[in-house]
């Protein structure tokens, strides 16, 4: 893993997930997310409908030079890539296709009605995630109803969960404090809670950590080990996870970034190496 950083790998891995028909709104881990989406527009998804930034900044970089990868989700320079800018509240009723419908999906040239009005994919951060994919940004429970650790806050993940097709939960470390049997507070509901509440949104598709990717058993809706990152063993993951690690039939290994992918990332999106450090 010496010739690329974890952030670079994550940008590439997530970029592969993006389809040309997607609409995507920016979420946690701004710089990785921006890199992944811009890379997708420049490589295989030129029609990706992309909202970056806190003001419904609809960006299109397919044919636009990106001198430096934006580092914050709010910067003025994002307007450089914009075809349309709105008010942040409009992200909940405006971004992408009107009402956030499918686009060129299901074999028809025109999108069908669906209820993924927010976006197709969204990055979610967390201080805890549990086996159901419930994610916690609120805090760790202490005594007397106080919090022993105050988290950053839920931002808009609860709002987004109602109408986003798939979320990707990102944890920046993999240990038993973060991956727990049951979260102290729920910011982002897991698949089970989403289904119980009849959300249109499907809840988390993956939980991504520096060690591995969990997906969810379609029947039990519980997390299961889906893929490991290069060099990580299943035992290592089991030893560092706070819930019983179930595994998919076949646990795969994440394909490292190819030379072509890294070149595209570094030459077209991240010229100054924001993700390399």
């Amino acid at each position: 893993m010496s010739d690329y950083s974890w952030k670079e790998m994550m940008a590439v891995v997530f970029s592969r997930e993006i389809e040309d028909t997607d609409k995507i709104t920016s979420g946690a881990h701004t710089e990785i997310f921006f890199a992944a989406t811009m890379l997708a527009q420049k490589t295989h998804a030129p029609n990706l409908k992309l909202q970056l930034g806190g003001s419904v900044t609809l960006c299109q970089v397919t044919d636009v030079d990106v001198p430096e990868l934006p580092k914050t989700s709010t910067g003025y320079e994002l307007i450089r890539y914009a075809e349309s800018v709105h008010d942040h509240p409009d992200t909940y009723l405006f971004y992408g296709a009107p009402g956030g419908k499918d686009y060129y999906k299901n074999g028809s040239e025109y999108r069908d009605v669906n209820h993924f009005w927010f976006a197709d994919k969204f990055f979610v951060g967390g201080i805890q995630a549990d086996k159901w994919g419930n994610t916690n940004m609120i805090g760790l429970a202490g005594k007397d109803g106080k919090m022993s650790f105050r988290g950053p806050g839920t931002i808009g993940i609860n709002d987004i969960a109602v109408g986003v097709r798939d979320t990707y939960v990102f944890l920046t470390a993999h240990d038993k404090r973060r991956l727990v049997e049951s979260v102290d507070y729920i910011s982002h509901p897991g698949k089970k809670v989403c289904r119980e509440n009849e959300f249109y949104g499907g809840g988390p598709k993956w939980i991504v950590t520096p060690k591995c990717i969990f997906d969810f058993d379609p029947d039990t809706l519980e997390a299961r080990l889906h893929m490991t990152f290069p060099g990580v063993t299943v035992d290592d993951i089991k030893a560092n996870t706070g819930f019983e690690v179930k595994t998919a039939k076949k646990v795969g290994s994440v394909e490292p970034p190819t030379k072509a992918e890294l070149e595209a990332l570094r030459n077209e999106v991240d010229k100054t190496g924001v993700l390399r450090h």
Binding site: N47, A82, E83, L93, F94, G96, P98, R111, G163
Partner: protein, 301 residues
């Protein structure tokens, strides 16, 4: 880069062919301004039937024309008329009074409430306007309930209003479907957000660089279909390009009034005269008249 961005500009014939009988079609603009008339005429010319028409908050006679041409099964409109030129649309009166069209009684914000609920993926929008009026009795989609916090006040639950198509006039659009109004936006953005598909009628297709010059002025992003139709708003005004053609509107009022009073012949002739393909229609107006409607830009950027 193996793939390129998809351009969505179509001929008016190809575009309107995408609209199917029985669909719900919302028509943008407001009053005497910014109605997508070329597309409205093409809808009539191609004989669409049984449409549910969603009007703007203050529709003009574009809705009256669709009704009089027999395209409309159901109407959702807070108002149909042309202010001082015609306080109430004549075909609207004729078809409403005879029961030939179904009307879902609504209002400006009940309409927007439905758009908002659709655009934001909610089950309904809660709104008080309409409580204490006859509207809930005349529109069974509205459900009255009691404020769950204060427990006393009556509230209306307005269900999502999700047209199959929003048809919106813009000043200019790029080939990818990013459009900008050059003047008032009225309720067009909300209408577009609610619909499953957006078709814009644009005065002009312009390069993407024109749109990027000021992306804050972009009003419709990612339209599914763009139709270029210069003077496509006639006889109504298109903000930034031309004003309304009062003579033409008054002639419409006269012919539609005749129809309401039973003189089908005058009305049929009116339709025959003006329901033509777009450039043939403009010929019936005449280039001198069209050019006389010029308005100079008030805002530019």
């Amino acid at each position: 880069m193996s793939k390129k961005r998809k351009e969505v500009v179509k001929s008016i014939e190809d575009a309107v062919a995408l609209i199917k009988d029985g669909q719900t079609v919302a028509i943008g603009g407001f009053g005497a301004d910014n109605h997508p008339m070329a597309i409205v005429r093409e809808i009539i010319r191609t004989g669409k039937k049984n449409l549910t028409i969603v009007a703007s908050a203050t529709a003009g006679l574009e809705i009256d024309l669709l009704i009089g041409a027999g395209c409309v099964k159901k109407l959702i409109a807070p108002y149909v008329g042309q202010e001082m030129y015609c306080p109430i649309g004549h075909n609207y009166r004729k078809y409403a009074e005879s029961g030939q069209i179904e009307i879902a009684e609504t209002s400006e914000y009940l309409l927007y409430a439905g758009f908002f609920a659709a655009a934001s993926g909610q089950e309904f929008f809660a709104w008080r306007g309409g409580v204490g009026t006859s509207i809930p009795k005349l529109n069974k989609d509205l459900v009255e309930f009691t404020d769950p916090i204060g427990k006393t006040k009556k509230i209306l639950a307005v269900p999502p209003l999700r047209p199959d198509w929003a048809i919106i006039h813009v000043g200019w659009s790029d080939p990818y479907g990013n459009g900008q109004h050059l003047g008032a936006r009225f309720g067009d953005r909300w209408m577009a957000r609610a619909a499953n598909r957006i078709m814009t009628q644009t005065e002009r297709v312009v390069p993407n660089s024109v749109i990027r010059k000021n992306p804050f002025m972009t009003t419709i992003a990612y339209a599914d279909v763009v139709v270029e139709a210069p003077y496509g708003g006639h006889p109504y005004a298109a903000h930034g390009f031309y004003k309304e053609d009062v003579d033409f509107i008054l002639d419409y009022v006269k012919c539609s009034e005749a129809n309401r009073k039973g003189d089908n012949k005058t009305w049929d002739e009116y339709l025959k005269r003006h329901i033509r393909d777009h450039y043939a229609y403009l010929e019936t107006v005449g280039i001198k008249k069209l050019l006389s409607l010029y308005t100079h830009p008030i805002v530019s950027w």
